[in-house]
Subunit: 275 residues, 2 copies
């Protein structure tokens, strides 16, 4: 029997939803209160897989999670894109006029602020986890309080959805990755995406030269992000995602980049979820 | 008399500290409870300048603030780098063993979690603003509660620092920008940095080609960040910062990029604070 998957948050969270999609309906999860704790579970062998949010179309990269992957030499083995829809929910029998407070994660409150402006009588209260608020309202039978969470959470905790898809930007996509301690062997012909990290000197054109190599080797860039190296002024770390048609092209690029960049590291080779 | 500067947060916050550094000790600020509200004050003319955090060496770019600048066609006219040091503070007479709760902004709690792990008896409580917690402890004479905030806040609200520089990553730099409704006229010879935004098709090598132009025109890249365009699959927006030695080089690059990229936009031309 396979080990449970570690997620940040509880059952009913968006991370849980990704587990169900990616692992064919699996419900076997370890609920972790932080990404650090999910990584601890992976390192001590209580799980063989973490599901981790890595970037969001509104808020951008979650850099602390990049740092967790990098520091612990973990490997990305897959990805999943989830369209995050926020819904306002409360106990059955409530209308929106009965709601005095909305509790949710600061990011969810931020994403729904335009909708909430229409209801100035509702007080916004920050909470740790979107799904956990839904669970508490249900378990403690809390009147007058609404949660902002997924449909899944409403179903799971028996709450009534008062308003659907209340986030300002309707298309609100988050990219999750599936992470292991080591890359398993996979037939290279099945791989068509990789996440790379490298460090370059702050020398004019150093990035352009490297991107030229990638382009010559027929790699497509799907993400690039620079990060100044804090302890080494004038050096920059880059996190780059590339897609490719054939592994040979990618292998050739790898061997050239190894010679050109400092601290070249493969964060993972996997299947592009966009295809 | 010049108008007050709009900041996110209250006096004693890191934004306030930037105002004092950048505007020669000025203390004339409008305290705003959100970045949106600071922008509203700029648009309706209550202020002519905002100070806005734009990226952090740990958490990365604050994309919602990039979106605010972009959407409202605001202009970056200057920048300031502040080394953020978090300090634990409480009423005089308290030792760390008297502290039952620490209240602070989720990001500050996250950055200090290693230190706080040594004191498992202390409960962490999320709050809206680091300095505001310090103010409340002082005004309401709250015993047993500590704030995590700047030295400035401790001085301003008469609190006692129990532990200095408690964040895990000691060098924790945030880049703030000074923002106006329009770019004022400045002698181009005094400018040596620019923030640009452009959109490219997801065509192999399109970014490399554009970076080659920048490199040929002797521009140095100090930041690059891609952002998928949510409503237009296969198009990417890029936010790029460049520095240059002569404005003529930069002007040449601008005229070429205008021809090559879609939706090329100058978010600001200003003086590099690193020099």
């Amino acid at each position: 029997m396979s080990k449970p998957i570690a997620i940040q948050g509880i059952r009913g969270s968006f991370h849980h939803e990704v587990v169900r999609h990616y692992f064919n309906g699996s419900d076997n999860v370890i609920e972790c209160m932080s990404f650090d704790s999910a990584v601890d579970n992976l390192l001590n062998g209580k799980t063989d897989d973490i599901v981790m949010a890595l970037e969001n179309s509104i808020a951008g990269s979650i850099l602390p999670n990049y740092a967790l992957l990098d520091k612990n030499n973990l490997k990305i083995v897959g990805e999943y894109f989830l369209d995050i829809q926020h819904n306002l929910m409360a106990l059955n029998g409530h209308s929106i006029n009965d709601i005095k407070e909305v509790h949710s994660h600061p990011m969810a409150l931020l994403q729904c602020k335009e909708f909430l402006k229409n209801y100035p009588h509702i007080k916004l209260v920050e909470a740790k986890d979107t799904a956990d608020v839904a669970r508490l309202i249900s378990e403690e039978n809390t009147h007058g309080v609404a949660a902002i969470a997924s449909k899944n959470a409403a179903l799971m905790f028996g709450l009534n959805i008062l308003a659907e898809s209340i986030q300002t930007i309707k298309h609100n996509e988050t990219r999750f990755v599936i992470v292991k301690r080591e890359s398993p062997f996979i037939n290279p012909q099945l791989l068509n995406k990789a996440s790379l990290k490298f460090i370059l000197d702050h020398k004019r054109g150093s990035l352009a030269t490297l991107l030229n190599v990638m382009s010559d080797c027929k790699l497509n860039l799907t993400k690039i992000q620079s990060l100044p190296k804090i302890d080494t002024p004038w050096k920059y770390a880059f996190f780059v995602d590339v897609t490719f048609d054939t592994y040979d092209d990618y292998a050739k690029a790898k061997s050239i980049i190894t010679l050109m960049a400092e601290d070249f590291k493969i964060l993972g080779e996997y299947k592009n979820a966009r295809l």
